[in-house]
């Protein structure tokens, strides 16, 4: 099955399934599960084959509609995007099988609406990973945004207000991005990333190029929730329905960081990004270091597991932004490896949170008492995820952090090293507090009286959780070959791990 269109079938499968889910789900709910899981399994398999194909034969470009690149829209399938394709489809597959249970529990009667939006969101993320056209990127960014607004607003409590704030911030981000693309279009007359990259160095327009670069970057930073621009993120992600949160949280920010890497290296050259404006590169690393510390500090103040996780997520975003802006091969390797490992560990922790919420109905810290006795398997997986977040050796969190720290040392940014170490320390405090609560404290009488509290989560939630925990260790142990065989090829020209 080695067709040239395979990577597009990966994208088309969830998209077409979304419509099928909407049509058939009205008739009968039983169709939804098999359809969704089948399509995503197909996507994950296709993504794996695409990655193998790229590794074997090298990167290739694909023109939609058979129009030559500056005219038509071009897709870029290089090792980095193929890796992201596999990551997105695998994470989506794991998150979905857990979401099937929790959505039936939280939103009864609206599963078909939920999963239609959900599948389109996955298709949008896969499209974002593949695209090689600056404007197409905006359209896909808006697809992922609109589906996310809808999914978040389906949550209960303050979800509607959080979703509205997200709409305002997300629109600012997208509009800034669009302005940046407009400036580049005026200067170059094309929207194709590779074509822009070819024309830009020959232009004599420093002010306009700098403006375009600034607006593209700020737009993406708003979208990914880099620290001072993060205000919408914790509310939105922690109040979404658990099924949606478990996919949005691991993927949205990571894919946006991937887009930032694309913009920095595929539209602009590394030379321009890092060297054209003195002080910018060092300034952003400083800002990222501050962001890590502030976000970690804010995480300490939270009293709800999912809110705490979202603040850790904000800190992790700053890890990766800082890692990319370290401007050396080791830092960028660390950032790319951290995209993979952070997606997996966020997935693992959010899936554990989903399982806990499915059984106990709450994630407040004082309700977590005695969870190890009641849900041993869930909490074991949670512990693996927590260790990875802290950076304990056999898990992948350690290796990516190691590369980030090594990169920071080589680039001479002690403040970034300090921030990473302090943040790891804070993570250790955060997670050991929970582990202490859940392991040593006896179950409170309050929760004992509830009928639902006994036992583990259902198998459909438990198996993706365990798989993601195993994946954390596997990626950790296999990080050497991963870097050697994939990430080394995915580096921008002129950088080596």
């Amino acid at each position: 099955m080695n067709t040239p269109n395979l990577h597009l079938y990966v994208l088309a499968a969830p998209l077409l399934t979304a419509f099928a889910v909407n049509l058939l789900g009205r008739v009968s709910r039983t169709w939804i599960g098999p359809l969704v899981l089948g399509a995503l399994t197909f996507s994950a398999g296709g993504a794996l084959m695409t990655l193998l194909h790229v590794l074997r034969e090298g990167a290739f470009r694909y023109t939609i509609g058979n129009w030559q690149p500056p005219l038509g829209i071009e897709l870029v399938v290089d090792p980095l995007s193929a890796l992201m394709l596999l990551l997105v489809s695998a994470v989506a597959l794991l998150a979905t099988s857990s979401a099937l249970k929790s959505v039936a529990h939280e939103l009864p009667g609206r599963e078909h609406l939920f999963f239609t939006l959900y599948m389109i969101l996955i298709a949008g993320l896969l499209g974002l990973v593949l695209t090689g056209d600056a404007f197409n990127l905006y359209v896909l960014l808006e697809i992922t945004a609109i589906t996310t607004y809808g999914l978040i607003a389906m949550g209960s409590g303050r979800a509607a207000l959080s979703s509205f704030n997200y709409i305002i911030m997300g629109s600012i981000g997208a509009c800034f991005y669009l302005l940046g693309v407009g400036y580049l279009y005026i200067l170059t007359g094309t929207l194709n990333m590779a074509d822009i990259a070819q024309i830009l160095p020959g232009l004599d327009a420093p002010a306009a190029i700098a403006t375009a670069f600034a607006f593209l970057m700020v737009g993406l930073w708003v979208k990914m929730g880099l620290f001072p621009l993060h205000v919408w993120l914790p509310n939105a992600y922690s109040q979404a329905p658990t099924g949606a949160g478990a996919m949005i949280a691991p993927l949205m920010t990571k894919v946006t960081i991937y887009l930032m890497i694309r913009v920095m290296f595929s539209i602009f050259s590394p030379d321009y990004t890092f060297l054209a404006h003195a002080g910018i590169q060092a300034g952003i690393v400083w800002a990222a270091s501050l962001a890590i510390m502030c976000a970690s500090g804010l995480a300490l103040a939270q009293r709800n597991l999912r809110r705490m996780l979202t603040y850790i997520l904000v800190a992790e975003v700053a890890y990766m932004v800082g890692g990319v802006w370290l401007a050396n091969g080791t830092g960028i390797t660390g950032a790319i490896l951290h995209i993979v490992s952070d997606a997996m560990m966020t997935l693992c922790l959010f899936l554990a949170a989903a399982a806990i919420i499915y059984r106990t109905g709450s994630l407040e810290f004082d309700r977590l008492n005695g969870l190890y006795r009641r849900m041993p398997v869930t909490m074991a997986a949670f512990t693996v995820g927590a260790f990875s977040m802290i950076g304990v050796p056999p898990t992948c969190g350690f290796f990516s952090k190691w590369y980030l720290i090594l990169g920071a040392v080589r680039a001479g940014h002690p403040e970034f090293v300090t921030a990473l170490l302090i943040s790891s320390l804070i993570n250790a405090v955060l997670f050991f507090r929970i582990i202490e609560l859940a392991y040593f404290q006896p179950a409170s009488d309050l929760s004992r009286s509830e009928p639902q509290q006994a036992g583990e989560a259902p198998l459909l939630m438990l198996s993706p959780l365990l798989l993601s925990a195993v994946a954390l260790v596997a990626i950790g142990l296999g990080s050497g070959p991963l870097i050697e065989n994939i990430i080394r090829l995915a580096m921008p020209p002129g950088f080596a791990p």
């Binding site: 597009l8 909407n22 509609g65 058979n66």
Partner: protein
């Protein structure tokens, strides 16, 4: 939402013989014009979005002049949802069909292998087909947006 609806009912908005008659006369022509804008998109300003919005506006006008139930009588919620899905499916289906027939994604000239018309004619026809899909989807979504926003999701009286 309920309070606003009470107010609207108290002032008899739209409950006017002239408006109702005029709307009843206008709606078929608006729909005809919408169809014209969709199918004539190749030769004059227009296309799927514009025509779809005009078609949707005709139903919205009905809902404004009468009430929401009247427009639901002309097009049920179920039909509307199926039309919306069908519109998007036409587009994505054609895109996928091109790929399955051995061309690139969205390469309409690949459809030539299905019925032989010549690749360039197929490009023209392909554009037309997707515009029809877009028009259907946009009409259905515009109507459903109005129904939902106008009645606060209740699908009863509307504004």
């Amino acid at each position: 939402m309920k309070r606003l609806q009470e107010q609207a009912r108290g002032r008899d908005i739209g409950d006017n013989l002239i408006i109702r008659t005029a709307v009843r006369l206008l709606v078929p022509f608006i729909q005809l014009f919408g169809l014209y804008v969709i199918v004539h998109g190749h030769y004059s300003p227009g296309g799927g979005f514009q025509g779809g919005v005009i078609l949707g506006a005709s139903f919205i006008l009905l809902a404004l002049a009468y009430d929401l139930r009247t427009s639901l009588r002309f097009m049920s919620e179920r039909t509307n949802a199926i039309l919306g899905n069908a519109g998007v499916l036409i587009y994505t289906g054609i895109a996928l069909l091109c790929a399955l027939l051995g061309g690139m994604f969205l390469d309409y000239s690949a459809l030539d292998r299905l019925i032989s018309l010549g690749p360039i004619e197929w490009r023209s026809l392909g554009i037309f087909l997707v515009e029809v899909g877009v028009g259907t989807a946009v009409m259905s979504i515009m109507v459903s947006l109005f129904w939902d926003l106008g009645s606060g999701g209740e699908m009863d009286e509307g504004l």
